[in-house]
Symmetry: D3
Subunit: 340 residues, 6 copies
């Protein structure tokens, strides 16, 4: 690794309450819990790669917040920029799917969470910006409410102003924006795009959120047509993303791309068995960021990111846990026998 | 759904004692328990579809019976027709199979169960018959003993006499009838066939239990040849069933048929991964009954029933848990991503 | 039992998320969940005594609400008056205490729960009132918000108007009312007191909420002085409650009283080991209600209620599970050996 | 230890299905299982003391029987005299009590168990008798049915005829004998008493089963009056037993006695906390047998047996697991700190 | 089965500490433990086939050793030749792999284990040799240290000298021998080869350990070239082994061979899903030994051994648990439905 | 709290493998694991009180070491001074006691642990000493071997030389020193006593390790006689310790003392129920250190430390988890009801 950088992610920590095995909530009587979120996942994946990971968030000052805080530390994150206040955490219930039955997520109320109700003054943007090299932001946060969006823009601007790198993951979730969601979202997304150095997105985001036109029909051709437009229009150095296919035998396939210096690099199309699908996109993002930070060449970066995403599907929980060497081994070998 | 009907199933409730994971009974030290049985499965599947489900059975008046009773209520069944008395429940141990190693079921003694020793007067046939629209019976009950068979015929006759619909699932289990089982079983099966409006069976039942001759060799041709004969001979409005294939990669395939108005309707041959195979036949039966009750056209009914059976393979426990809308979604889509 | 009555409780269902054993939330990784609430506890305890128990509440129409609904059925409650709508359930985390370390409860946001956001028209007061003999209400509901209080008064008035019996449990929780809570709460409590036939309260409620004066200093003398005043002033037929003491050896002691026909009846002071303290007050209330419904003499009623409360401390979960015969046995015997 | 003897116990192996923690069967969803029975407990306790333990029993030839067989081996028993055949095992469900709520045992049907239906020829009495030094029998077996009683008498006579020692534990369970049980039981008990060298019993057995008269009222005086009569009348060398008291604080107290050579020896009255009460009587019996086999003086024997019983209350499961040295340490010390 | 033979295995018992499910050690908080080792696996597999299995090993005389001893008995092994002494057991942690993420084994220090520090005189070679028909040795033991190698050679010579059969499984693990491992290992391997009647190995062992030259490139041709040379050079009656392939869909394929009487016999190439890969090689070895002991013809022996290995992949834990009849059924049938 | 200090502890991290519930290792099949050690416990308790906690130790660079590292972070410790290298961790098995049956600890081999084999140069004494205000050492480390003792002395001297405070906990464990242990230990203990500012010890340490004479017989009088001598002789500012009594009802009693400025301060004798006894002494030590760091008066310090120790007995695991405010509440109140 070239050097150890200070990477912060801004975002909500959620409590994941997962029914063990394959029972439904109405059948079971216990839940496994963990704490995650796009920011948690990206920052701790980068900590696994040897960087110093920070989370910029706000947790309630009670037993649930304490548990979240301990979980962040366990994942290797610095909690220096974690505020405490408010009363609640966002939570979601997860019932695992099996084969023909998809997994099911049920959210509790996030609007009242400590993070989404963080008052003015909760985050010292300048202090944070000065303490880090790179900051990661996510479209899910953008969808929450006015207050949290304001924090997000202010922090992104402070990072930019301090010469730091801004990463933005579009991560558009229709359920969060409601009716006419794309129209509502567009101005906020555009604002973030203009601040961002590295963006995670794909052709659908370009068409639906940013409203860019294309006469291509094929998904791959749309990508080749639109992503360069986006890069040019918003002045973005690197854009990356994945295309996922779910196969008939319940395996998934993933193809990653990275557009940089006017050129596309693609990973192999990886096909693999899936144990825990949630958080795999964040693993891809962290692979891209690590490749960029480490000055990998684009081919290596996108292959590394795709392998990181593949391995994240084999790990329990939302948060990627693989080291750089484990990902490099997964890139070079077929499925292996026991490692003794 | 067209209307909410009152559906009763007559049958034994069994306690399923399942070794968690893939250990053998001689390796493990704990068991998961649930309560099921063909009647439980069919009636509660129909309750999931919005009907009012009843079980006609008898449970011991002790802590085990209390637990069974609570489980029935949890599944959405009315326990209005559940008698309490006797001392024991039928139980079975289940060791999960994996790949080349098949699952293994070990029964405890069912002959002394509260249900199978229900004395005369245990069930008020007329009262029950007047309270319901449709009643489901199963060939497993027929195999138990004289006393329980007598209850079964009396209840079926009362339902028929009250203008209700009688469903009979052949469900022939060689182990329960012993030597010369088919010959012993035939008169009882014939009696139920004559009372039944809807019958669950396949070509083997026609040949082996009812002794119908065919010169066809292929399984499918036998079906086409024999089922119409059965319908005619016993005056049955609808006959349905499945053909199961176990594939080399441990997936199963299922093809459902429904014969009605002199015509066969078939489902697609569905192929899927299997989590819990037990009770899937009951899911198919409940799908057929729901389609018939809801006046689906036969094509839709059999496709709905096959999809219900497929989903039942992905659910923990014997008892199907899918709603009508979940089954319809499974019919229309390939394997899906997380539902958020 | 004299007769089987129809008993409804109006109140929120909460999801209890309990850390198993004696770990803290920041140490553990799994939770046991169950569904409870004062109304759930009282109605299902009465169902255990042979009455028909109903819950009047509102649950979200998602997987969490389905699980709650199944749990209510399992407890023997009719869900006929359970509405479905809204998006969230109230939840609380429970970390068990041990000896010198008290148990700790952390609430999630209840204000946005399906119950506490039930819109006008959610409950058909008249239909419910006509379907039941007795209705139970709780001061916790009173503390929530304007909308739910309005439902509560309207239902209590409808029950009263239909000749039903109204039970009100004061259950004042300082944390829910905030600053100047007693003053805020007083008018609402007085309104419920005037509607109630049976009230659960103690001397502190009389002094602090209702503002009744007394010159007594001793707790017991305050009770003897104030409760008759309350009964007279608000026209209440029966008032009952408990005084709890926590002893040095971690046992608890409980003394129950019942004031009726101008006379106090008291239970023995029971001392016992505690396994799960939450919900024991609801067991006492259900014992009082059952005694009143069954025309027990007051001495028997209060002794029965105290024994019911004692047994509730030995049961896992908030909800009492003891039958009438188990409580009678606990009243007559010392700690027993194994029951075979 | 003086010498390693070959000790066999004749009796049924039962499967114990225990609800973990303090939930009821109607609340929980899993069970812990183990295999025990008076014979199992006594023979394996003696194996813990360094003797060679055998069980004479019959297990079904299926997965449940395999699991029982493996459990016996794990307990250190030789399965040389374990027959395989029949189809079922006796089972019982155990719900733990807590404080004021007693534990509850619910049996499944034992009459059809492999052991209780063992046909003529199942046990080679002479071969077994020649292979062992001492055999243990239990009154529970006597209560089962004609066939198993016949095996029991035949084996006891063979042991006696071969110069072995016969131990008989009265273990009268009213529930197994039904109405007029004592009268029904008397002739069978008398037959065993005449064959026995060592008998486990107390004053109640003398009065109620054997019908011996006494004019004493106090329990202890009855013991002093009756046990010598029993020893004389039936020609028994050693009689031993315990008196149990359950205290108000949920501790139990135990006083052991041993009558031998016309003299009584008593243990201290031990008072202790109880974790798992079942099987403690078998620990006492095994302590007496070990003391007798090892030629301890009677005082030591009865103190050793009482301490063995006390420790058995602290061990999970029915079967005692303490070594001789652990029991000796428990006799000499108060409750100790961690042993590192 | 032709006859019941006395089979001993010499080797270390290890404690396997396995993270349940698919979590990493840094994510989980509990471990499942069991006791295994090549010797344990082979001897207990042969006990499952009806032979009398012995383990020659040494366990610490503490609670961990007691647990190991009980586990050996549970597996059906005689502990007659198990010495007790020393202080430690070898242990290894196992994190399950999933799909693209391989399983991971982390060893604790084995050099100080009771077995690997067994002093002179720990094993009575002659007494053991006289008590058994066949003895199994493993190359892992050879890798440990001087003292244990000396015990190994002495016991093998004693067995040979008493007319017993010596089996040697090469089981070369590079990690145990360190740098220049093949050269270091060669003399010890050659010594065992000369003593052995049956050897488990493949073409790589011949080339790398024994240094035999071949001009073949293809794996199968190397086998055909080298194994006859080995048999001739070291005077071995039977040599057997497997070639494993890990397929893209995470299934494994296994091809077994047996060289005997100058002729090769091969199994089908079996392809199957894998639940627990560890110990499958031992199942193959035990199948070969059983076939040889039972005078199966070579074709049957190698097919039986391959099926035994296949089933071992479906069993929890390192130790094979399948009976002869289960293996024969797996040889004759495709994947089966539930066995009721 | 007065101020946030930087507190380091030097010591081994051990993996605790605990049998859940009250089973023995030979009965159970799973273990709960956590990571602890005197240093871990003291430093993380101080982190709970708001200080910055560091551990100076060495962990293997494998999956077990990763898990330990994550656990340290979760406890709130900085891992800045945690070296990685070597291959093994010290481990111990813990079987919980119950009542008359004491808990049992079985160690694995610690001498080969990464910490106990740390080579020269593993710790940068000066860098560490400059980064901290106070360092904690423990007599257990002193018992290990020459190499680790050398690191210990060098670090203590560096801390002292940099003006930091040295804390030494005598923690003499007879099992670690073997025969003539006190004599062997004395010179090393004396060396640490001379370096220490704060020492944890009691009268036995003074007599047995340091060999100080006293003519007192009573334990308390010995303390009053000897501790001032120790303080004077070795120039120690503060000496503290506890006397533990185990009561007949399984509660423990604890009396703490603090000797400072020629004066003794004592806590109340606290009596309490015990859930997890291990690590309570470390809680006391951390309370003393916190009181000293915060300039509490001696009375408050010793009462705070004793309450911290009492609460540590109610917490799962070795490591104290209570905050300053929780300890202050436990000091002021009797056993409390649920905290909502």
């Amino acid at each position: 690794m070239v050097s150890r950088l200070r990477v912060a992610a801004f975002g909500e920590v959620m409590m994941r309450l997962q029914v063990p095995g394959y029972e439904l909530l109405s059948q079971a009587s216990s839940l496994n819990y963990s704490f995650s979120g796009t920011g948690v996942n990206v920052a701790s994946a980068l900590a696994c790669f040897g960087h110093e990971g920070f989370l910029v968030t706000r947790l309630p000052d009670n037993a649930v917040g304490d548990a979240a805080n301990a979980a962040l530390r366990k994942l290797g994150l610095s909690t220096e920029f974690v505020g405490r206040g408010g009363s609640y955490m966002g939570m979601y219930f997860l019932e695992n799917g099996f084969g023909a039955r998809p997994a099911r997520v049920t959210y509790s109320n996030r609007q009242e969470s400590s993070f989404n109700t963080a008052p003015t003054g909760s985050f010292d943007y300048m202090h944070i910006a000065q303490g880090i090299d790179i900051a990661h932001f996510c479209g899910i946060t953008l969808a929450m409410n006015y207050a949290v969006r304001r924090h997000m823009f202010a922090l992104a601007e402070a990072v930019k102003g301090n010469g730091g790198t801004v990463v933005f993951d579009c991560n558009y979730r229709p359920g969060h924006w409601g009716e006419d969601g794309y129209a509502k979202a567009k101005p906020f997304y555009e604002k973030m795009m203009r601040l961002a150095d590295i963006v995670m997105m794909n052709e659908k985001d370009a068409m639906l959120i940013l409203g860019l036109p294309t006469d291509k029909v094929d998904r791959q051709e749309q990508l080749l047509d639109l992503i360069p437009q986006v890069a040019r229009q918003y002045g973005i150095s690197a854009i990356a993303g994945t295309q996922r296919t779910i196969n008939g035998d319940n395996t998934h396939s993933l193809l990653g791309y990275l557009f940089k210096n006017q050129t596309f690099a693609f990973s192999e199309r990886l096909t693999f068995a899936v144990y825990d699908r949630i958080g795999a996109g964040d693993a891809f993002a962290s692979g891209i960021i690590h490749g960029e930070l480490s000055s990998f060449d684009p081919e290596l970066t996108v292959r590394f990111a795709a392998a990181a995403a593949m391995l994240a599907h084999t790990i329990t929980g939302d948060t990627p846990m693989s080291s750089e060497s484990e990902i490099l081994r997964a890139m070079s070998k077929a499925n292996g026998d026991v490692i003794r």
